[in-house]
Structures are given as C-alpha cells and as structure tokens.
Symmetry: C2
C-alpha cells in the first residue's frame, strides 16, 4: 500500500477527461495534475519541443513525490514516452498502448481509424503499435488540428464543428473502418458531433478508460494502491491561468477545483 | 544613416504579413524576424505569460544588434508594450497605435469594429486608444479565437471559415460599424472570407501598413534609415520548426526563406 499521489500531465486542460476516468476506477488515489497551459498546444509542435516540455513536466511532478506518472496527452505519449522512460526512474504510462488494445477489442473487420493532432499522426505510433499486435490490421489516420480549438471555444456541436468534422472525417468513413480511436484528450468533448458525422456503425474508442484500468492493474500488481478510506485528495497545477480550466473542469469532473499557477521553465 | 537591422517579433508566423509591409516601404532595410512558434498562440494566454515571453523575444533580438523593434503581434502589443518600453533601451513599436490611426481615418460614422484574439480584446487597448483620440467614437469588439487556427490550417475561405466568420461577425455587423480593424496578424490571410461576410459597406483596416509607415517616419526623423544600395538582408528565426512557416512565407513574401531554430528560453 502506497499513499503517494499519481501524477498526470497534459499539454493543457484536455487531460481532465483522463483524471475523470482515474477517479472512477480508483477513487481513493491522491492525484496531482499538471496542465502546461503556458505552452499549449503540443499537437502542432515538433517532437523535440514536445519532448523537452514533457521532461520539465515530469520533473515538476516528481517534486510532488508521485509514485507513477500518466502522460494524458496523446502527442506527448506518441512522441516522447521512450525518452521519458530512459530519463526518469518512475513508472510512466502513456495513453497510446491502452487505446490500441481497446481498438483491437472493438474492431470486427480489422479496419481501424485514428484521429489526432498533427504531432500524434506524424509520429505513426498508433499504426505501428496496432500492426505489431496484429499484422492483418488496416489503420487509417487523419490529423484534425481544428478540433482542439473548437473544443476550447466550447463549439462542441454547432454548424462550425459539424462542417469541420465532415471535412476531416468524410474520407475516413469511406475507407470502411468500423472503429475510430479518439487519439487526443480533447476529442471526447466533441464525441456527439463526431459520432453523428461518422454514423452509428462506427464505434468510438476513448483511450482514457483503458488507461485508467491499465494503471490500476499495475499498481495492484506492485502493491502500490492507496487503500486509505475516503476520497483521495486532488491538486491541480497549470503553467498559465486560463478560463478554459474552469469550463472543462466543471464539464469533466463536476467540481470547481481551484488550480495553482507555477513557472514550469524552472523545472 | 544606420545599417543595423530592424527587429520584428511575433507569436508565430502571422507577423510575416508585417514584414511584407516593411519590405514594401523600406526595401533597403535589413530585417531580423523572430517567431515564437514553440509557444504560439499568445492570444489565449494571460498578460503575465505574454509579457514574459515578449521580454525574452526582445532580449533575443537585441543580441542581433537591432536598431528598433516592431512588436508585430497584436496580443503582445496590447498587453506588454509598456512593460517592454520600461525594461529596454531601444525604440519599440506596436501595431495598435498605427491601427487606431488608420481606423480613425477610415470611419465616417464614428462606429468602429475591432476583431482580435481573446488577449487583445480583454486588454481593451484598441477601445482605450480610439476613445482617447476622439471621445465621440463608438467601438465594438469581438474575440475570434478560431481565426488563427483556421488560417494556420490553410482553411482561409471554405465552408468552415465562412460559418465561423458568420457566427463571430453577425452581431458586429448589426451594430452599424463602417470600419473593421483586423486586430491580429493572421487575419489578413482570411481577408476575403471576412470581407464577404461583413459586406462591401464595411472597410477592412489592416494595421500592418500603417505600422510600416510609422516606423519609416521615425527612422527618417532620427537619421536611422539604411540608405545602402540594393535589397536588405532578411534573417528568420523560430523557436520551433513548423510547416506553417513555409506556407505563410511563400504566401506573404513570395520567397522560400529558410528559418533557423533557436532556444528562446535561453534569453
């Protein structure tokens, strides 16, 4: 048994959808969340920039004595996970492997779609890992850079988001996929709009749920679960103040947590 | 006469539309451009973050021995110009004052619209400066955060940008404005779409042209113009590599300049 917190970082506030899933399966755990709102988004930046920022984020979380770290950001998970594991001596989990496993369970016709930021798509991480598991799989990817600012604007289901979804997803639907991975933590906020665009025949896969389950299994196996009574403590840190935190926090966690602002360039 | 370069910085690549105007009116000048592509956008970040980043950008440009600095970014001009002038001993120009002067020349009915990022609109800089010049002016502002990612996606005139423009600008048109300031360096890239949405009766004001003229007048007055023969040298620096630079550079400057990547956190 280990009462130290679980650390979670994301490029911004989208990772709160991952915190939501952790709280569901492991309510007793203490959680320290860091959102890099001063440098968001990561999805349009280079692998080098994303890796540099991710290392600073991990150093900050380690200063909070976390027992494990979840990289909630798909772009950082796709581009920087190996570099983080080589650099730091703490268990680090990404969202890509759990997302891949969930997609493999979901598909019947072996045709999987993946949408994400330009950085996630460019990395090829989803295709590589899906095909490593089953070489018969066909993977079709599409970068949807506008989905993040649409979600942050609160335009999750209006004429603009529907037109954008149509433009991004039309070709993907035509490939005959039966499962679509939401490969960015912001995309679950657009779930209804994306679902209506691709139709009911295509199942939407959210890696956050599978990630929470995977981390729980690891903690259990290594006797690191927090078995204290009561609901765990939550701490939220951002690198810049933003109105979006309040909006997404209320939407994802149904509670008005107060974030603390820190200078991430110090780490 | 002074052959030292003019320094220009922007949050990203939008400021190349300002470089274009400088090259038009002062072709002999050497120019050093810095685009903070590692931390773009500024428009959704706090005043504190924007000021901190802007100071680092000025320190970098000073290391290139510039004779004057243009803050091409409206968000930084609106939020951080005073702090920069207090900190550094070099002539520093923003884009807001020239934009205001151009808008005052343009309007006949004394009703001016201003569109910009959330950071620019929140600062109130345009309203304050317009009303300081003429207290009878009525100013109507609207933040259009999605216009930057739309321009960067290359969706400058399609169904998505038209729907977004309609949503953002409908109320502004209804106020009866006869002039609209494009208060963000990215917005001239969407000029056609914005113009069609607001109609021909509303004149679009681009602060970049007036900024270039203002800087030229200052350099002339202080005997700092570069009177060498031939076209000035251009140097482009970014804090992260990005495909967007190539696209916007070709569109704005009609020349494939090669940017150099630097670590802005060192400054």
């Amino acid at each position: 048994m280990d009462t130290r917190p679980i650390g979670v970082f994301d490029s911004g506030v989208g990772g709160l959808t991952v915190v939501k899933q952790i709280m569901k399966v492991m309510p007793h755990e203490n959680i320290v969340y860091f959102g890099d709102t001063a440098r968001v988004p990561y999805g349009t930046k280079s692998k080098e920039a994303v890796t540099k920022y991710s290392k600073q984020n991990v150093r900050f979380l380690l200063s909070k004595e976390v027992k494990a770290i979840i990289v909630a950001c798909n772009t950082a998970s796709s581009n920087s996970l190996d570099a983080l594991r080589e650099t730091f001596d703490v268990p680090i989990f990404g969202v890509v492997v759990p997302g891949v496993e969930e997609a493999l369970r979901s598909t019947k016709n072996k045709k999987i779609g993946v949408i994400g930021t330009p950085g996630t798509v460019r990395s090829g991480a989803y295709e590589r890992m899906i095909c490593e598991q089953d070489s018969e799989m066909q993977v079709f990817t599409k970068a949807c850079p506008l989905f993040v600012p649409l979600a942050e604007e609160g335009w999750t289901d209006n004429e603009v988001s529907r037109q954008a979804a149509k433009r991004y997803l039309e070709e993907l639907v035509a490939t005959g996929i039966d499962s679509l991975v939401l490969g960015c933590t912001h995309y679950p906020l657009l779930k209804r709009c994306i679902g209506q665009t691709v139709g009911e025949a295509i199942k939407l896969v959210d890696p956050a749920k599978a990630t929470a389950r995977r981390v729980m299994a690891f903690l259990k196996e290594h006797d690191l679960l927090n078995e204290s009574e009561g609901v765990g403590e939550k701490q939220f840190y951002l690198s810049d103040s933003t109105d979006t935190f309040r909006f997404v926090c209320q939407k994802a966690l149904k509670h008005p947590y107060e974030p603390e602002i820190i200078d991430i360039e110090m780490y």
